[in-house]
């Protein structure tokens, strides 16, 4: 059996790697090593073993962390855009399939069904990926808003940083711009108007499941907490445990009223 170690390969004897950073990143093995790694390492490097390991680990981590921090936002946003396209395609294909069904039973419908199911699988994969990345880069936003809404908000504002800098009132109605500007135009003319209470965040279960007259209140509260959550995510990146508790309490309070 050959084993990949951070300082080389073990295959009865040890072949020391020429590039420690490279071998460190490739030190993956399907099963546990049947020997204690540090004993083998200390035989080779002596007392310097841990110093060398630590130095390599730090160098590798520094590079990977920088790289990820600079590309994660863009990745999530690209995924959200892709998800929207895929969803649209599924809807379009479903529509065409139904249209055909009404006219005639044909084999081509099966092909449609196949394609749709393929796309649905793709949609699921994209959603899972969004969830995994969001939990890592914006744990508070994800806990509060859910991965999908959180990612959509990031997409709308362009980045986590922009979202964190945005006023809560904007977070509340983003995604409902058209009805907002319509309403503002009517107000300017002195007419009565309905100003939207929520945009993207409307799909949040805490808002959607409330009766209409309470949704505005909940949306305002949720948006203000989302604003705080994204600020914590931007600057600290660690889960703040009490935040989601507060929102849940508000929801339950509104539901009971």
């Amino acid at each position: 059996m050959c084993y990949n170690l951070w300082f080389g390969k073990f295959d009865g004897g040890v072949v020391i790697s020429e590039n420690l950073k490279k071998s460190f990143e490739a030190a993956s093995n399907p099963n546990p090593l049947p020997f204690n790694l540090s004993e083998v390492g200390i035989q080779i490097f002596g007392r310097n073993y841990y110093e060398l390991l630590r130095k390599t680990a730090i160098e590798v981590a520094e590079e990977k962390v920088e790289k990820e921090l600079s590309s994660d936002d863009k990745y999530v946003i690209a995924l959200v855009k892709a998800l929207e396209e895929v969803e649209e395609a599924i809807n379009a294909l479903n529509g065409k399939k139904e249209e055909l069904e009404e006219i005639r039973e044909t084999e081509i419908q099966e092909k449609f069904a196949e394609s749709i199911s393929n796309l649905e699988n793709l949609r699921k994969r994209i959603e899972e990926e969004i969830e995994a990345i969001m939990e890592r880069i914006a744990p508070n936003l994800t806990e509060l808003a859910g991965a999908k809404i959180g990612a959509k908000l990031m997409e709308k504002f362009g980045s986590l940083e922009n979202l964190a800098k945005a006023p809560a009132s904007k977070i509340q109605i983003v995604g409902a711009e058209r009805s907002l500007y319509k309403a503002l135009a009517r107000i300017r003319k002195g007419k009565e108007a309905k100003v939207p209470k929520h945009g993207i965040i409307f799909t949040h279960p805490f808002i959607r499941s409330l009766p209409k007259n309470k949704r505005g209140k909940m949306a305002r509260f949720l948006a203000s907490k989302i604003s705080i959550a994204s600020k914590i995510d931007l600057f600290r990146g660690e889960l703040e445990e009490n935040l989601s508790e507060v929102v849940r309490k508000k929801f339950e309070e509104l539901r009971r009223l």
Binding site: N29, L53, I58, E68, R136, G237, E238
Partner: protein
Amino acid sequence: MRNVKFFGNVPATKSRYGSHYGERIFEQDGERYREWIPWRSKLSAMLVKGYEIDLKGDEKVLYLGAASGTTLSHLADVVDEGVIYAVEYSAKPFKKLLELVRSRKNIIPIFGDASKPWKYSGIVEKVDLIYQDISQKNQVEILKLNSDFFLKSGGRILIMVKAKSIDSTAEAEQVFGNVLEELSKSFRILQSGRLDPFHKEHMFVLGERHSSAEWVKT
């Protein structure tokens, strides 16, 4: 616990290093101590509540979910002659963690996913203790996987469980009962307890690996 002293009812660890997360520094008899805030660290909350975990100071430790290194910095003070492998997969806190690691000789940082231990199987050695604080739904499963890869026979596990992240709707007592049952399939439970009021609906479990299970994958 080794290298821990109480100043009133606040624990602190003997340390040559400065403040990492805004904690106060105490001096006594020419020694420096770093305040260990129980509201910030679950391990500290354990100590304040009167629980003990026996450490000699030269242990090899695998720390899953190191975050920005708050608890890790104190654990590194305790096992000052040992080595801690610190795994964390979130980039932002890891940056803060790296600040800590640059000054500490006994921490090996691993920027990776604790649910995929095979990926760092050629980096981490066999350890005496696995400490886990990752608040994920399948955290028990992740702990088992890691102990299959790295825990010595007779080695110990210390796991922090957040009821809400395992099941957000069930009662905490119910969740804790299930977790204990699940853990007792692979470990002998030595001790467990709640961390209220410092950490709401959290529990710690200290366990020991059955000695026959060494390095055998199930």
